[in-house]
Subunit: 342 residues, 2 copies
Amino acid sequence: MLTERQSRILALVIGEYVDGAEPVGSQHIARRSGLGVSAATIRNEMAELEHEGYLDHPHTSSGRVPTDKGYRFYVERLMREEQLSWEAQQTIRHQFHQVEGGQDAWAHLAASVLARAAENAAVVTAPRTASCHLKHLELVSLHDRTVLLVLVLDQGLLRQQLLTFEDVYTQEELATTAERLNQRFGGKSVREAEQAVELSAVEEVVMDSVTEVMRAVDAGGYDEAYLDGVRQLLSQPEFARGDQMLGLLELLDERNLTRAIPLRSLAQEGVTVIIGADNPRLDVANEAMRACSVVIGAYGAPGVASGALAVLGPMRMRYSRTISTVRYLSGVMSELMVESYE
Amino acid sequence: MLTERQSRILALVIGEYVDGAEPVGSQHIARRSGLGVSAATIRNEMAELEHEGYLDHPHTSSGRVPTDKGYRFYVERLMREEQLSWEAQQTIRHQFHQVEGGQDAWAHLAASVLARAAENAAVVTAPRTASCHLKHLELVSLHDRTVLLVLVLDQGLLRQQLLTFEDVYTQEELATTAERLNQRFGGKSVREAEQAVELSAVEEVVMDSVTEVMRAVDAGGYDEAYLDGVRQLLSQPEFARGDQMLGLLELLDERNLTRAIPLRSLAQEGVTVIIGADNPRLDVANEAMRACSVVIGAYGAPGVASGALAVLGPMRMRYSRTISTVRYLSGVMSELMVESYE
DNA sequence: CCTTAGCACTCTCATCGGTAGAGTGCTAAT
DNA sequence: ATTAGCACTCTACCGATGAGAGTGCTAAGG
C-alpha cells in the first residue's frame, strides 16, 4: 500500500511526465512539489515506488518514468476527473445539432471532435441497431434488367443494393411491387421477413436481397468505424521513429482496427481505460500497441442501438481530460440517439 | 541532345536507382551494362549527363542520382511501356465484376487494386456526373416532423438528407407528395428543378433540399476520393524519417488531398505524369511533395460522368509499370461506366 | 579522337575516446 | 525520518581517425 506522500509523488511524476515526455528526476519534483522535503527524500520514495512497480528507470542515471501499473493506479485512485468547461460543452453540442445527415454523420463528427479534444487518434463506430427493422424499401429502374434496391432501416440507416432481374420491368411495375412489399414487411425485423411465404418470383429476388442486407447489418458486418486524428497520434514523441509510425499505421488499418481495439466487449455504461499491455487482444495487436492506451466509452439508446467511441493515444496521455471528454461525448451521442428514436 | 550511349546509361542509372534506392556508381553500371566499355568511360558520360542536368551528385564522392529532368526524359523518351500480363488483367477485371454496390464501390476497389499494383498510394475519385439528373426521390417519415429525403440520381448515385417540417405528416401524405414531385421532376437536371414554380409549402422545402444536394453533386463538392496504400507509400525509404512521414500524411489528409493533386485539370484521354517539382500546385502542396511523382489517369463515359485515378509515389518509382496499370485500370473503369450507363 | 588504366582527392560512415551533465544510490550526520 | 555530500553510472555530444566508395583528371594506347 502506498503512503499519502508516495501517492502524491507518483501523481506528480505522472503529471510532469505527461507534460514533458521526458523522464523526471527527484530535483524536478522537489522544486515544484510543495511537499517541503528535499530531493534526497523524494529519491528514497521514488526508489520505493520503483520497487513496488509503479515507476521505472530507463537507465541507471535517468529520471523516473511511470509503468503500466503506475498509470493504472493513477487512473483508478489518484486522478480527479476534470469537468469540461461549459463553453467547451456548448461548442460540442452545437456542432452536433448543426449536422444533418443521420447517424453516420454524427459518428464521423464525433471522431473528429474527439480527436481534436484528446489530441490523439479517435475511433467512433456508427450505431448498430440491436435488431434492425425495415422501414421502407424502394425499387428504382436503372436500365434494362438492372434495378437499384434502396432500403431504409431504423433511424434512417440507408443501404443500397444492385439487383438483376430475369425480365425487364417498367418503373410503374416496380413501384407497385415495392408498395406491396412495404405494406407487407414495413416495420418487420429480419426474422419476420425471412419467414415470408407465397411470394412472386420478383418479390422473391427482392426479399432475398433485403434479408441479406438486414442480416449483414444485424451481424455488425456493415458497421463502419470512423477514424480521425491519426496525424496527431503519430506526432507524439514516442512514435517519432519511422518504423514505429509504420507499426502504428498498420494497427490503424481498417482491417486491423476493430480487431486491435475491443470496442464491443465492454459494459454499456461508463468509460473503460485500457493501459498498455493490459489490452486483452494484445496478441493480435501489434508491438506498437504496447506503448498505447485506449479510452473507450459506449453510447446509444438502451436496447435499440448502440455504438462505441474510443481514444487511442500513447500511455503518456492526459487521462483526466480524455476520460471526461469521452464521457461527455458519449452522453451527448446517447441523447441524440434517444431523441432520434421517436 | 543525348547520344545513344548517354541515353542508355541514363536509363540504366534510373533502372538501378529505382531498384536499389541508392546512388549508383560508374563501376556498377560498367559491370552490368553490357556496353563493353570501362567504368572510366561511363564516368565521363555520367559527368556529361550531370552537366546537362539529367543526373545529380549528392556529394563529391557518391554515385549518381537522377534529377527531375532525368526522370522526365526517361518517361517521355526512353521508357518502354510494360504490358500487363493477361493474367494480371483478368484478375483485375474479375474483381470489378464481382463487386456490387455501384460506382462508389468501384472507385473504392480501384484505389485498393491500384495501390497494390503500384506499391504506392493510390487515389481514385468516384465518378462525377457531368450534370446530374434526378431519377427518383423518396420521403420517409422518421418521427414527428423529421423526414428522411432519399435521392436517387443518375446511375444509382444515392444521397440522403434529413428534413424538418413545420407540421407533422403521415407516411401516406409524404408518399403522395413524393409521387407528385417524381412525376414532375423525374429525369430533370438541377437547372430545370430550380425553375419550379407553384409549389406548396411542403414541396418547397423538399425541392430546396433537392436542388441543394444536386448542386453540391454537380459542383463536385460531394465527390469522394478514395485513398489506399498510404502505408506502402510511407514504407518507401525516402520517407523513412518520422518528420517526412508526417509531412506526407498532412498532404494525404482529406482536406488537402485534392488540393495537392490536380486530379481534375487534365485531358480526358491518356495518362499524365507529374514529376517532383513539376506539380503546378506545388505552392499549396507541402515540401514532401517535391520528392514525389504522380501518375494520373481519367476514366468515364464521354460526356456523362467521369472520375480520375492517380498513383502517388516517390520520384523513384517504377514508371513503366505504374503508367500501364493506370492506363489499363482507367480503361476497365471506363468500360464499366459505359456499360452501366444504359 | 575515343577509350582506359592509374592515381590523388573528397566525402561519408562507423568507431573510438574524452568530457560535461544529469540523476541516482549510498552513507553518515542531524 | 530526513538530508547533505559524494562517488558512480549512463547518455549525449564533440572531434579525431581510418576504411571504403566513387569521383575527376591525366596520360598513355588504340
